[in-house]
C-alpha cells in the first residue's frame, strides 16, 4: 500500500456535505412511496388514569380517514406487545414495560392511545379532535418523592413505584468514612431535559401483502436489533423485515430506539397493505421522545486533611418517567457505577433507586450518566477543597489517577454486572495541557473578583467518556466494476459524519483514494448483522470491522492475483487501485465481484478522557451567567478526522451549556408538561455561544482495538455541568453560594444569592466542616 495513513488523521471534507448543502439530502419525511397514507397519534391528555373507552366512530366517518386503530385492534387484552428492554435490562424491569398502545391505563401525557390513518396529515389531525376518550383520572405521581412514597402506584401488579435499587460497591465505604478526617454531605439535582435532535422522529413503512415483506424507513442507531425485536412483535419472520437508514437529522441517544410508533406504523401498513408514513411533530416530540437526566442525589464525600479523597457514598434517585424503555436503565446504571470518573476513589457505596413517575419515559442522552456524575462529584470536590483550604487544582492533581495506575477497575454493580475497567491514558498530562491552554495561572487572579458589577470565577474539571461498546460489528467490502470498493457496515449514522470517517479508514486500509470508496451503513440489507451507533461506538467498532475486512480482502486478492499473474501470494503488491503480480499487473476492476464480510469482536470498552476549564462572569442582580472562555482538551487515542471531531466537541460543549443553563422539561403537580413548544423548551442559539476552544489529542493508541481509537463525541458535554457550576460557585465565593441544582437559570442563581445574603445576615447558620 503506497500511502499508509494518508487519510486517517487528516481533516478531509465530508463526503456527506455536497448533498446536504444543496437540499438533496434524503430524510424520512422526504420519501413518498406509492399510495402513501399518513399516521398521526392520539395521545393521552392526562398523566394518570384508567382508560374506560375510546369512541372513534365520528373520526372514522370523516372523509379522507382510512382507519383508526386502538389497543383493541392491536391485540386482545394481554396480547398487546410490550416494548423490550434492549440494554442493561433488569429482570425487575419486565413488569414496567410499555405496551405499544395504551391498553387499560394511561401513565403519561403523550402516551399513544389511538392511531389515525388518513390520506392527508391535516385530515388525520382533524380526526383526532373527533375521537372521544374516556379516562378516569387517578392520582398523579408527579415526582420522585411521590414515587418513593408508593402512595399511588403506576403499576398495581408490581406493587411499587421502585423498579429496583442498583448498588455499586468498591472497598469499604463505611469504614473509610468512620476513619476520615473530613466528610461533607450535600444534595444535588439535575432537571429533566432531552436530546432534541433537530429532525423529529419519523418512520415510513411499506408492506407488500403478496410477498409479506415489510420495509421500514427511518431506522437508525440499532437497526439490526430493532428488526429482530419488531419482527417478533409484528409476528413476522426476520427475513421478511428490513430496516432502512436514510439521512438522519441528529440522534444524541434518543433516536432509533423502539418506541410505540415503531410498532404502530408498520402495524398499520400491514393491516392496510399500504405505505404509511408518520412524521413526529415538535409538540409531540417533546412528550413522546425519550426524556433524560432527571436525577436527585444525596451524596457524601470523605477525605484526608491533605485532600485525598477516600470514599463516596450516598443515594441517587432516578426519575425514569412512566415506563422502563429500551435503554432506560443505562443512565442510572452509569450514574451509580461511574461516580469516581478519572479519580482514585477506593471506597464507594452508591445506591441508585429506579423510580417510575407519571411523566414521559426516560432514556439516554449523549454522555448518559457521565454528565450527571461529573456534576455531582466535581461539585463535591470543590466544596471539600474549599473547606480544607486546598486549591481546587491541587485537589484534583492529588486525586487524578496516574498513568501507572491504569488499567483500573470501576466499582461493580452488586448482582448485576462485573466490574469494567479504565483502559489507558495520561490524565495528568491532559489536565495540565488544559490549564495551560486556558491560561489558568493568569486567570487565577480573577477568582471571585467583582469587575464592572459582575463577579468572575474559573473552574476546572476532568472526565472520562466510555465508548467502543462490545460485542462485535460487521463489515463487508466488495470490489466494484469501476475499480472502486463498496464498504457496507453495520454501524449507523446519526448525522455525525460517519460515512466520511469510515471511508477514510477503508481508503487507508486498501491504499485507495477516498473517491474510490462508497460507504453504506445502517440498513439491515447490507450485512448479516450489525450493532449500530450507540455508546460512542460506531467509529471504533465499525472502523475496526472495516480494518479486519480490508485485511481479509487484501489476502484474498493476493491469492487470486497470484494464481492469475504468477508468483506467490506474498509477492503480490496492491497500490493505488492496481494489483501487481510477478508476471504483470491488473487494475482492481479486474477483480470486480470479489467480496468479503468479516466480524470484529471486542469484549472491552474504551475510555477517552479529558479536562474542561471555564471562566464565567455572574451578574448578581439579574442572576445572569456569561461564559467568557471555555477550553476542552481530550485524548481520544487516535484522531481519524480532526475536523469532524472538532465539530463534535464544539457541538457537545454547546449542548452541555444548554443542559446547564436553559433546557428544562417542566411539569406541574398534575403531571402536565408545561414546556410543549420550542418557545418554552429553550436550547442554545448562536448568540448564547461563548468562545470555545477544543483540543483533541491522540496521545496513546487504545490497546483494545486495532484502530487504536477510543469513542469520542460525548466528551465535550460531560464536564460542562461540574465546571460551570464550580466556576459560578468560585465567582460567588464571597456569598458562599453552592449551586448544586441545575439548570443555573437567572432566577435560580439570583435566588441562591438572596438566600446566601440572608444566611450571612443571620450569623449562627450551621456549616459543615471537619469531622
Amino acid at each position: 500500500m503506497s500511502r499508509p495513513n494518508a487519510w486517517i488523521g487528516s481533516p478531509v471534507p465530508r463526503v456527506e456535505d455536497e448533498r446536504l448543502v444543496t437540499g438533496r439530502g434524503r430524510f424520512v419525511g422526504d420519501l413518498v412511496p406509492e399510495r402513501l397514507l399518513h399516521a398521526v397519534m392520539l395521545r393521552s391528555p392526562q398523566a394518570h388514569g384508567s382508560l374506560r373507552s375510546i369512541d372513534a366512530g365520528a373520526a372514522r366517518d370523516l372523509p379522507g380517514v382510512v382507519a383508526v386503530f386502538t389497543a383493541a385492534d392491536v391485540g386482545a387484552a394481554g396480547a398487546v406487545p410490550l416494548i423490550p428492554q434492549r440494554q442493561h435490562a433488569l429482570p425487575e424491569g419486565e413488569a414496567y414495560r410499555q405496551p405499544v398502545i395504551a391498553v387499560d391505563k394511561v401513565r403519561y401525557v403523550g402516551e399513544p392511545v389511538a392511531v389515525v390513518i388518513a390520506e392527508d396529515p391535516a385530515i388525520a389531525e382533524d380526526a383526532l379532535e373527533l375521537i372521544e376518550v374516556d379516562i378516569d383520572p387517578l392520582p398523579p405521581v408527579a415526582d420522585h418523592v411521590a414515587a418513593d412514597s408508593d402512595a399511588a402506584l403506576l403499576f398495581e401488579a408490581a406493587g411499587s413505584n421502585r423498579i429496583a435499587v442498583l448498588r455499586a460497591r468498591a472497598g469499604d465505604a463505611d469504614a473509610a468514612f468512620a476513619a476520615a478526617d473530613y466528610t461533607r454531605r450535600a444534595q444535588f439535582g439535575i432537571q429533566r431535559h432531552t436530546a432534541l435532535p433537530m429532525e423529529p422522529r419519523g418512520l415510513c413503512a411499506t408492506f407488500d401483502p403478496a410477498s409479506g415483506r415489510l420495509v421500514l424507513y427511518g431506522a437508525t442507531k440499532v437497526p439490526y436489533y430493532n428488526r429482530r425485536a419488531l419482527a417478533g412483535m409484528l409476528g413476522l419472520d426476520i427475513a421478511a423485515v428490513d430496516l432502512i437508514e436514510v439521512d438522519v437529522g441528529g440522534g444524541f441517544g434518543a433516536r432509533g430506539e423502539i418506541y410505540p410508533e415503531d410498532f404502530l406504523v408498520p402495524f398499520a401498513a400491514m393491516r392496510l397493505g399500504a405505505a404509511v408514513r408518520w412524521i413526529e411533530d415538535r409538540r409531540e416530540h417533546l412528550s413522546a421522545c425519550n426524556h433524560a437526566r432527571e436525577f436527585h442525589a444525596d451524596l457524601e464525600i470523605a477525605c484526608r486533611r491533605d485532600g485525598t479523597v477516600l470514599a463516596l457514598r450516598g443515594r441517587v434517585d432516578a426519575d425514569l418517567g412512566a415506563y422502563a424503555r429500551t435503554n432506560g436503565f443505562t443512565p442510572p446504571r452509569n450514574v451509580v457505577q461511574f461516580m469516581p470518573g478519572p479519580y482514585r476513589i477506593d471506597h464507594v457505596a452508591i445506591d441508585g433507586h429506579l423510580l417510575v413517575t407519571n411523566k414521559t419515559p426516560a432514556g439516554t442522552y449523549r454522555g448518559p450518566g457521565r454528565f450527571e456524575t461529573s456534576f455531582f462529584c466535581e461539585r463535591l470536590f470543590d466544596m471539600a477543597a474549599h473547606d480544607l483550604g486546598i486549591d481546587p487544582v491541587a485537589f484534583r492533581r492529588r486525586n487524578l489517577l496516574r498513568k501507572d495506575e491504569l488499567p483500573r477497575p470501576f466499582p461493580g454493580i452488586v448482582g448485576v454486572d462485573a466490574a469494567t475497567e479504565l483502559d489507558n491514558g495520561d490524565y495528568a498530562f491532559v489536565f495540565q495541557r488544559c490549564l495551560d491552554d486556558f491560561g489558568w495561572t493568569e486567570k487565577a487572579a480573577l477568582q471571585g473578583r467583582l469587575i464592572d458589577g459582575r463577579y468572575h470565577g474559573i473552574a476546572v474539571a476532568s472526565f472520562i467518556e466510555g465508548g467502543g461498546g462490545a460485542p462485535r460489528e460487521n463489515a463487508r467490502i466488495t470490489v466494484e466494476a469501476d475499480g472502486g470498493v463498496a464498504v457496507d457496515v453495520g454501524s449507523s449514522a446519526i448525522g455525525q459524519g460517519l460515512a466520511t470517517v469510515l471511508s477514510q479508514i477503508a481508503a487507508d486500509a486498501l491504499g485507495l483514494p477516498m473517491s474510490a470508496v462508497t460507504l453504506r451503513h445502517g440498513s439491515t440489507t447490507l450485512v448479516t448483522e450489525g450493532f449500530g451507533s450507540n455508546h460512542s461506538r460506531s467509529t471504533v467498532m465499525g472502523g475496526s470491522a472495516i480494518l479486519v475486512a480490508a485485511e481479509a480482502l487484501l489476502a484474498e486478492l493476493r491469492t487470486v492475483a497470484a494464481a492469475e499473474l504468477g508468483g506467490a501470494a506474498t509477492d503480490v503488491r496492491i497500490a493505488d487501485g492496481v494489483v501487481h503480480g510477478a508476471a504483470g499487473q491488473r487494475p482492481l476492476s479486474a477483480f470486480a465481484g470479489l467480496s468479503v464480510e468479516r466480524t470484529y469482536h471486542n469484549t472491552k470498552y474504551t475510555y477517552s478522557y479529558g479536562t474542561h476549564a471555564a471562566h464565567v462572569a455572574v451578574d448578581p442582580r439579574t442572576g445572569h451567567v456569561e461564559v467568557i472562555d471555555y477550553v476542552t482538551v481530550e485524548d481520544v487515542g487516535r484522531v481519524i478526522n480532526p475536523a469532524t471531531l472538532h465539530g463534535q466537541v464544539i457541538g457537545a460543549v454547546v449542548q452541555g451549556l444548554g443542559s446547564v443553563f436553559l433546557e428544562h422539561l417542566v411539569y406541574d403537580e398534575t403531571g402536565q408538561l408545561l414546556t410543549g413548544s420550542l418557545a418554552d423548551y429553550l436550547v442554545p442559539t448562536a448568540t448564547d455561544v461563548p468562545r470555545i476552544r477544543g483540543v483533541s489529542l491522540g496521545l496513546e493508541r487504545c490497546p483494545n482495538n486495532p484502530l487504536g481509537a477510543k469513542g469520542a463525541g460525548e466528551g465535550g458535554l460531560i464536564a460542562t455541568g461540574g465546571v460551570i457550576a464550580n466556576a459560578v460557585a468560585a465567582a460567588l465565593r464571597s456569598f458562599g453560594v453552592e449551586p448544586n441544582h441545575l439548570p443555573l437559570s437567572p432566577p435560580r442563581v439570583w435566588r441562591l444569592i438572596q438566600e446566601a445574603r440572608r444566611r450571612q445576615a443571620t450569623p449562627h447558620e450551621t456549616g459543615q466542616g471537619a469531622a
Partner: protein, 289 residues
C-alpha cells in the same frame, strides 16, 4: 401541527375586508404577517372559519413622519421600522425597542397591527405605544375611531377592538427635542419574549426631571405605567441614588406574575435592576451596578 380547516379570502380594499369579517359573525380573523396567528393555528389554539388576508389591502403599509408625530400603517413590518432612518429622531423609543422583537426572519413579516391586536403582555410595541400615549386607529362597519393605547390594551391577548374592527394605523405623538429615553429588556435568549422589560422617557426642566413616563412589560396581564417610580422621579435631579429609589418604588408597586420562566419575586427584583440601569443610561450616568 397542521392548521385546522378554514376558508381564505384576499380582499383588495379595506371596505371589502371589513365586510367579509363582519359577515362571518366573529368567526373570521384577519391575517397580517401571520407570525403570531400561524403558530396559534398550528397548535389549533385558533380555529377561524375564514382567514381574511390583509396583504392586498391598499394604504396600510405607509410610515408618515410629520409635525403630528409618527403614523405607522397597520401592515408596516418590523423590518420597515428598522430600515426607516427618520424614526431614530422622530420616535427614538420606538427605534430603540423594535430591534428587540423576535428574529430576523420574523421581522421580515411581523406587523405593527398584528402585534397590537395580538397584545402579548411581553411584546415590545404595546409597551412603547402605552409609554408614548399612542393612538390606535381602528375601522369597522360603523366607521373609524381612535383608541388610546391605555384603553386599547385590556389584558393578555385581549384588546378593546371589536371582532369586526381592523386596526388601520397607530399614531405616535411628536417627540420633543431633548427628551431622554431608555429601553431595556431581559430575556432568556436573544429574540425571546421579555421576562421583564422597561420603556421610559423624561424631559429635562432646568436640571430636574419632568414628565417622567415609565412602563414595564412582561410582568403582568399587559404593559403598565409605573406611577410610583414616576412620582419619585418628577421634580428631582438625576442621580444614582434617585434612580435606585425610583426603582425600589417601582418594584414595591407591582405584583408580577409567576410562570415557567421566572417567579414573581425574581421579576420584581429584575424590574428594579433594569429600571435603575436604564434610567442611569438614559440620563447619561454610569450605572452604579
Amino acid at each position: 401541527m397542521k392548521p385546522p380547516p378554514f376558508d381564505y379570502a384576499c380582499p383588495t380594499s379595506l371596505a371589502e375586508a371589513i365586510d367579509l369579517i363582519a359577515r362571518h359573525d366573529g368567526d373570521a380573523k384577519p391575517i397580517a404577517g401571520g407570525q403570531s396567528l400561524m403558530p396559534m393555528l398550528a397548535f389549533r389554539l385558533a380555529a377561524p372559519t375564514l382567514l381574511v388576508d390583509l396583504r392586498r389591502v391598499p394604504g396600510l403599509d405607509g410610515i408618515t413622519v410629520d409635525d403630528d408625530g409618527v403614523m405607522l400603517g397597520a401592515r408596516v413590518r418590523w423590518c420597515d421600522i428598522e430600515a426607516d432612518a427618520r424614526l431614530a429622531a422622530a420616535c427614538p423609543l420606538l427605534a430603540a425597542a423594535i430591534p428587540h422583537v423576535a428574529h430576523y426572519q420574523i421581522r421580515n413579516r411581523g406587523t405593527v397591527g398584528g402585534s397590537l391586536a395580538h397584545a402579548d403582555p411581553a411584546a415590545e410595541l404595546p409597551a412603547v405605544a402605552l409609554a408614548c400615549a399612542a393612538e390606535i386607529v381602528a375601522q369597522g362597519p360603523e366607521g373609524r375611531r381612535t383608541i388610546a393605547a391605555d384603553d386599547f390594551l385590556v389584558g393578555p391577548l385581549t384588546t378593546a377592538l371589536e371582532p369586526t374592527e381592523l386596526i388601520v394605523a397607530v399614531r405616535f405623538p411628536p417627540w420633543p427635542a431633548g427628551r431622554h429615553h431608555g429601553f431595556a429588556e431581559f430575556s432568556r435568549r436573544k429574540g425571546d419574549f421579555a421576562i421583564v422589560g422597561v420603556a421610559l422617557f423624561f424631559d429635562d426642566a432646568d436640571g430636574a426631571i419632568a414628565g417622567a413616563t415609565v412602563v414595564a412589560f412582561g410582568i403582568g396581564d399587559r404593559p403598565q405605567r409605573l406611577a410610583a417610580a414616576e412620582e419619585v422621579l418628577n421634580g428631582a435631579a438625576p442621580s444614582a441614588e434617585l434612580f435606585a429609589r425610583a426603582a425600589a418604588a417601582a418594584a414595591d408597586s407591582v405584583e408580577p406574575q409567576t410562570d415557567i420562566h421566572a417567579d414573581g419575586d425574581y421579576r420584581r427584583a429584575l424590574l428594579a435592576t433594569l429600571l435603575e440601569r436604564t434610567l442611569a443610561q438614559s440620563a447619561g450616568l454610569a450605572s452604579a451596578s
